[in-house]
């Protein structure tokens, strides 16, 4: 690869930043140019070893490139000071040393990343009725005698029946092995943990006051864990991490493809990476609460269908192609140890049911948290991720669907896009007269009037704002096209195509203009049209022409400006004040299922009851989709929005 003029495609993971760079550039230089941001402390003097990255090997369908160690300059002596033999084997290099000599996919491990992602998956305050599946029973038994030599387990059973009215009770094999010793060490006073009142899963000598459980939301990008006290429902600790599978593909489809194209062990690698990450998360939440992983007696999981299958080690291939059939619909209870989870050996993992190929346990979590099936009002629940999931209805009927919104609303595939991390522009205002721009940044506290951070790019909520504001300021028209003949220093042509500068190079942390391009607007239009068309088609199916409430679930929904979202036409018109965010409702659903087993039955019922609608099979899908590409819409009216804003064309 001696061609010094060549430019190679390079993709950084997990950020997904990509572009072509000149051969001979170091990985660190390339990352800076592409905004992938690798940590460096020593200023590239090759001494700190902070900029460790991993070169991925293989063909990556998603980008159409083949990556491997041979596409970099040879490994050097200097690097071996920071990189162990084992790491070297895995493809680790120092970003400041390795030069690019061919197409590459580069994984930037968490410790090498600057601008750690802001994890927006905090738990919401919710009142949850307490009926956990795991409860503790304290027993004082009579010691066996020659005249009463009944076996230890039978003795315990007899007492459970007598004091708690519970029978017949089975025992987990791991708990059985500890039973006799615990009884004697506790002087025949023991605490048992019972799962679903039917199985003894743990036993401790003496009295134990508290049992704990963990609720986990496995997102395609972010995994969040909520440690709860099963006795009082208290949320003890929350922690989250980036889904380690991001290295194998940034979205659901590329994960499924990874399993398909790496027949030998691809699925196992993804499952293993997740389980390893979960075990680390488990140790973290336990430690921060002065507990041990063994104190965790049950784990509940929500996640989209692909994450669900991969967690369980089930081949996700058939989810990825029509007719998108999952392997299993109903909820599952498996031993956590069978999944490789390092919690109490007797602990169960409860995985919530899924609705359809593209509407998973995460959506079921949202449903049991929001309970649209107990309401009279027509509710539209919008959960925006790489796929937008919609639920519409009330107590009489519920419809759900999944819309291919693509990653634009998450900041991917947007020229200046980035994930929600410090320096991301999350709010945008544009003055319609002067085109002056006001931005709010993540991590910017505005302490003493000084900016704590400088802008690096646009995250999802910022993109929605930016496009809506460009429309309100008249920079783009309702078709999404940049108007001609406007003059402003912020309007520039790049390769003959218009772009609007939100932040000039000298104001940014990246030394480049942060802009919104015509193509960005088009990508946002596609995403929002998919969502809007989905909502409209569900409304047609249900036979309603308006919704009473719009509920925005998901981390992303909590951060978007609902007014700007309406200006853009992200969802149908709705009375002001009746659109609200409910936070990470999927994670809340996992917590609810952990703390209330009756809600598991509810989840099972509603998952079966919800009617899944395949949008692409709906008559006129294309027309609905295309009409929704206009801002806010080609023909639909927005009377509430129009009244609110006094907007032309909206009312």
């Amino acid at each position: 690869m001696a061609d010094k003029e060549a430019r190679w495609q390079i993709v950084f993971q997990p950020s997904g930043r990509r572009g072509r760079v000149k051969a001979g550039t170091t990985i660190l230089e390339a990352s800076r140019g592409l905004g992938a941001e690798i940590e460096t402390v020593c200023g590239e003097k090759r001494i700190c070893g902070k900029c460790k990255v991993r070169i991925e090997t293989g063909f990556f369908e998603r980008y159409g490139i083949t990556s491997g160690p041979s596409h970099t300059s040879p490994f050097t002596e200097e690097e071996s000071k920071h990189i162990s033999a084992q790491e070297k084997e895995q493809g680790y290099r120092l970003g400041c040393v390795a030069r690019i000599e061919g197409p590459l996919v580069v994984f930037v491990p968490e410790e090498s990343r600057t601008g750690k992602q802001v994890i927006r998956k905090a738990a919401t305050q919710r009142a949850i009725d307490l009926h956990p599946a795991v409860r503790l029973c304290y027993l004082e038994l009579e010691a066996p005698t020659l005249s009463d030599p009944v076996a230890d387990l039978d003795r315990v059973r007899r007492k459970l029946s007598l004091e708690y009215g519970l029978e017949p009770v089975t025992i987990d094999y791991a708990a059985l092995r500890e039973l006799s010793d615990a009884l004697r060490r506790g002087g025949w006073k023991v605490t048992l943990a019972l799962w679903q009142d039917s199985e003894i899963i743990a036993v401790w000598p003496g009295r134990v006051e508290h049992g704990y459980g963990l609720a986990v939301d496995i997102g395609t990008t972010t995994v969040a864990a909520y440690l709860c006290n099963l006795g009082n429902g208290e949320l003890v600790a929350t922690d989250s991490m980036m889904n380690p599978q991001v290295a194998m593909g940034e979205d659901v489809m590329s994960r499924i493809t990874y399993a398909m194209s790496h027949r030998e062990g691809g699925l196992g690698r993804m499952q293993g990476a997740l389980i390893d990450g979960l075990n680390k998360l488990i140790r973290n939440v336990a430690r921060s609460s002065k507990l041990t992983p063994r104190d965790i007696l049950e784990v509940t999981f929500v996640g989209n269908t692909a994450m669900h299958h991969i967690l369980l080690g089930i081949d996700p291939e058939y989810l990825g192609v029509a007719p998108f059939t999952p392997a299993v619909h109903g909820s599952l209870d498996v031993k956590a140890r069978d999944l490789g989870l390092q919690v109490h050996p007797g602990a169960s993992a409860h995985i919530l049911p899924i609705e359809a190929g593209f509407v998973g346990a995460d959506n079921v979590g949202v449903l049991i948290a929001e309970e649209p099936y107990n309401q009279d009002e027509i509710i539209l629940i919008v959960d925006i991720g790489t796929n937008g999931e919609l639920v519409l209805g009330n107590r009489h009927r519920l419809l759900s669907t999944s819309c291919a919104t693509g990653p634009a609303l998450e900041g991917a595939h947007i020229k200046s896009g980035m994930r929600a991390a410090p320096g991301a522009i999350e709010r945008v205002r544009i003055d319609p007269q002067t085109y002056e721009v006001g931005c709010r940044l993540i991590g910017d506290e505005h302490r003493r009037g000084r900016r704590a951070v400088r802008p690096r790019g646009l995250c999802g909520s910022g993109i929605i704002d930016a496009v809506a504001e460009l429309y309100r300021a008249g920079v783009i028209d309702r078709t999404g096209r940049f108007r001609k003949g406007l003059s402003s220093a912020r309007l520039v042509a790049v390769d003959g195509r218009p772009e609007f500068i939100l932040a000039h190079a000298e104001e940014t942390a990246i030394g480049r203009d942060i802009t919104v391009s015509q193509e960005d607007v088009r990508n946002v239009q596609l995403a929002k049209a998919a969502l809007y068309a989905g909502a409209r088609l569900l409304m047609r199916r249900l036979g309603v022409d308006r919704v009473d409430r719009v509920v925005l679930a998901g981390a992303f929904g909590s951060y978007i400006d609902t007014e700007e979202a309406q200006v853009l036409g992200l969802f149908p018109d709705c009375p002001p004040g009746r659109i609200y965010a409910v936070g990470n409702a999927a994670g809340d659903g996992a917590r609810i299922a952990l703390l209330n087993r009756h809600k598991r039955r509810e989840a099972e019922e509603v998952a079966r009851r919800v009617e899944y609608v395949e949008l692409t099979l709906e008559p006129d899908f294309q027309r609905y989709f295309v009409e929704a590409m206009y801002i806010p819409h080609m023909v639909d009216k927005f009377p509430h929005l129009g009244a609110l804003l006094g907007m032309e064309g909206a009312a």
Binding site: Y63, G320, A322, T479, R481, R522, V626
Partner: protein
């Protein structure tokens, strides 16, 4: 060419660009009344207009709705003009295309756009629809002796099936030109899967197809 005729052709063209069905219909009727050759009106009026629309789409100035509305306007004009095409003036068809969305994939908006652009350019299009079994592409190509097979995929997962489709078509007919397109597809993927062409968007698909055909025909020359 008389000025009047040129004015009518311009109106047909502009009507398509402005996606103004009424204007196109009027201009088409006027073309017939004034004795403008129907085939010429189609090619130099309607089709020329769609050519401009394709360029605008390529530059992202026009988007899917505009492209489709322009196509609607064009079809209104075609309905008026087509019955009046004189025998023999039809001109040479550019070729035949078999098109469809690959097995497992139900997204067909992109495929429909490409289909329109092929029709506009004078190709005969055999549309197999969506979720098309791989062998159906082979069968249809053999049946119609089409010059081009164009396959679309909108998901990374279904894109994987394209490689097999290319192999199957090649095996039966090494001379057919195969073109791939769709959101996850890139030039690199198309090359890796052994296709002859790659359509980045509806705007450049036909250009690509023509280039591809030219190359293949040159290769086939003895």
């Amino acid at each position: 060419m008389t000025q009047q005729k040129q004015a009518i052709l311009d109106r047909l063209k502009q009507g398509v660009i402005d996606y103004d069905e009424e204007a196109v219909k009027e201009a088409a009727q006027e073309a017939l009344e004034e004795g403008v050759d129907a085939y010429e009106a189609i090619m130099d009026g309607l089709s020329a207009g769609m050519g401009v629309v394709g360029d605008l789409y390529e530059k992202k100035e026009y988007f899917v709705p505009e492209l489709l509305m322009s196509a609607d306007a064009m079809y209104v004009g075609l309905d008026v003009l087509r019955p009046h095409i004189k025998e023999g003036s039809r001109g040479e068809r550019k070729g035949q295309v078999v098109i469809g969305t690959v097995q497992g994939d139900v997204h067909d908006v992109g495929k429909n756009l490409i289909k329109i652009m092929f029709e506009v350019a004078g190709f005969t299009v055999h549309d197999l629809g969506r979720d098309v079994p791989l062998e159906k592409f082979v069968e249809e190509q053999m049946k119609t002796d089409a010059d081009i097979v164009a396959i679309s995929a909108m998901m990374t997962t279904t894109m994987m099936g394209m490689q097999k489709a290319v192999e199957m078509i090649r095996q039966r007919n090494p001379n057919v030109a195969i073109m791939l397109g769709g959101a996850p597809v890139t030039q690199e993927v198309a090359s890796l899967f052994g296709a002859d062409g790659y359509a980045e968007s509806a705007g450049n698909a036909v250009q690509e197809a023509l280039k591809m055909l030219k190359n293949l025909r040159e290769m086939r020359k003895p």
